[in-house]
Amino acid sequence: MKPRHHKLALFVWLALMLASVLVIVQTRFVADLSAFMPKVPSARQQMLIDQLRDGAIARIVLVGIEGGDEAERGRLSRLLVSQLAHNPRFTSVQNGDSQIQQRDQQYFFNNRYLLSPAVTPQRFSADGLRAAVQDTLDAMAGDAGLVVKKILPRDPSGETLQILDQFIGESQPNSSDDIWVSRDGKRAVLLLQLAESGLDTDAQAAALADVRQTFDHLPARHVATRLVMSGTSVMSVASRDTIKSEVERLATLGTVLVVALLLLVYRSLPLLLLGLIPVLSGALVGVASVSLGFGHVHGLTLGFGTTLIGEAVDYSIYLFIQRAGGNEPRHFWRTIRLGVLTSITGFAALMCSSFPGLSQLGLYSISGLVTAALVTRYILPGLMPARLNLRDLSGPGLLLQKSLDFLTRMRWVMAAALLAAVAVLVFNPQDIWNRQLNALSSISKEQNKLDAELRGDLGGNDMRYVASFSAPNQESALQLAERTRPVLRELARQRVIGGFHTPDELLPSQASQRARQAALPHAVEASRRLDRALDGMPLQANQLQGFLADVERSRSQPLLSRQSLQGSATSVLLDSMLIKRPNGYLVLMPLRPTGEGAQSDQIALDKVRAALERHQLEQVTVIDLLEETTAIFDSYTHEALVFSSLGSLAILLLLGVTCGWVQAVRVTIPLGCAVLCTVAIFDASGIQLTILHLVGLLLVVAIGSNYALFFANKQQLGNEVEQRQVEVSLVVANLATVTSFGLLGTSSVPVLSFIGSTVAIGALLALVFSAMMARIRPRAHHS
């Protein structure tokens, strides 16, 4: 290149770097796992999943106190509640303590005439009252007699029983000495509700830290006691922390390892620094492009930065080693260009993915690789010393050549490996695909187990089946819920569902509250009707003055609103069902399976849908979230399969067009073998593949094709020395790739480790198989 051009290139490069740094400085980095959850096709599903992840349900924290003896755990549970109760970071703190429960009971009892769906004008006619009082007396004669007796003087028509009726069949947390304990009695359990939504991970982290700190400083706490927590917020804070520390660890280790490898090969600090220039440039441009393209950069995308180090450093490795002799192998840049093109084709397929995280990775890699290649092509040569003082690699080179020659003679090994792989895939009965969405989550098995236990302890609110709708405002939402409730009740009676909750049970619409108030007779009339109703009954009206007073008070009491529930356990339940959204309200009504029969944990949703339709409630959709997420995941695995196949096909086409079909086939066979064998290795080790393994395989094709191309490039073959140099550079490049991806493979974040392990194994196999199959044997060539 002419010096003038070189100066221009340098200038452009510097400007680009500066611009990238400027963009990066203003970039927002996120670290939750949402980017690696698929965007779901329908807005409704997305909304539901968002709710479970960020909404009211995600604000619930399940807490357990373990160790010590029961008395100590109980004492700590009470202390923790009293200290957290006034912390503004929590909207609710409960441990089953009867004081808090009393608040709920009072809400239902004091407001029974506004809350009971049974309150109608007929019920408060003389005949209606008579029937209602008779019902209450009958209930009193039965098993619940003691409870009913208590409410009789103020609630002879049994409205409280009507309200309680809704909660029958609920599984309640166990309690001991008045506070909640786990099923096995070995831990005290509490339920917290965070004030901040799941979107603010920092605030949630601070609140969780508050809980830990408060617990640690409880007076005279027995050392054997400990705190455990679970819930969506706990998990998202934990995964964020894991991702943060993993990204730092991987970036540092990856750099150290590649630098060490290069130092070993180059034995020259200047060359090492030069070699890192394309990598660094690529990384800067990559991050800046993602930031511009997506508005933010995900922490995991940075995690993949280590892999970019692995690939981008290859170019300078090829350049330095192959040009060490001062000569420029013919068609060197052509091969590099083809290698970059194949990689880009592979990553471009990623960009089409519906996983925002994967499309970020695609953009990051493409812009990074193009930059790295361009910098290697136009900046590095100008900065390189005229004669490279590269360590003499002819010794290792000769050795390497011998090994490669050996590999080339061992072609049959590849055939054998292929056969073995096919055998494994055919005969292993295990499904090679993992269909669990949480396969990608970085939550540990222990944490998941704890979560399941605590949920069970607290009455199992796992929200698998949900009936849901949206409405423009709270009043219309509650009115629609009121229309839905009788349908659900009928379904419960038919044992299609075991039970349900609707928000209007806790907070009726204003219209219903007014209607119920209007149904209550005024004092004089009420007293008259009561007299008539009690005629001939064992009860006398003068014993029911409390009832008459309560009815009179209820007629003019202020209507109930969300504030009326403040501080009660019921408000937490209401929050999870009646959710304010930017443009209206979302209602989620949990449905419980019956717990009976062969499929006791399942609900026949078609029956529920049919019943809703019969009552013109089409706007209420019922969803099995488990099936929904599994189905979404299946469709994205399918999508990934399609784009990976298309990506691979595009790479083959590219090879075919640029180097001829014979050559393309020569390159393809070892790659195909590498992919098959990698899949077989996972299958044989009992690992089920996820969408990210699939992405890893695509990268194997993209990266592996570079090796095969260099091996197979006839024109590039000069003398034996040059051939050796090419091969040394290939092996060093491969080592860098295997190292950096292998490092990812060790990560505790599944997203990183799945891709990492796949590429590390696949790239190594691709190199070996390419040496066997694609390599043109110099000896054969020369003799």
Binding site: M140, A141, G142, I168, G169, S176
Partner: protein, 190 residues
Amino acid sequence: MSKTLAGLAVLLAAGLCQAAELSVADLMQMLGQKKSGTATFVEKKYIAMLKQPLESSGELAFTAPDRLEKRTLKPKAESVVLEGNKLVLERSDGRKMTVALSDRPEVAAFVESIRATLSGDRGGLERFYTLALSGDAEQWKLNLTPIQPRMQKVISQIRIAGKQAQVKTIEFLQADGDRSEMAITSTSAK
């Protein structure tokens, strides 16, 4: 509540100590002999607020060692099944509610007064009550006084009367002065 009656051995044992003052141990041994039985019951609740007692009736079934079922037929169908630590309440519409006795000490005290008496489980009774026995095998009276303050707030005493291994009446005296009386007629026993 409940039923019962004695096998041959029981009759024999009962016959032997007929004249003698009955000890708690003897009574428990006698009661513990039976394996299962069914009975009908009529329960009357005397409540201060009401001019007449509330009456309910139905069936009882006991299977040793710890299953007790009370099926009320009138005035409203409902049932309570107690098995081990689990109490299941079922209402006429088929809906069920399950309570773990270990969770609700006062409910446990309540149901143990009947179940432990029927199965002759002295330890089970003494966990919750102090026992006072009078009469002889042909006509005994066992008075249970709650130990726990929480239980005392609800029930002041439970009076059980019977003849040999057969429980005839159970009377609950409530702390507020109300009381209930259950008369039991055995229909079968083993």
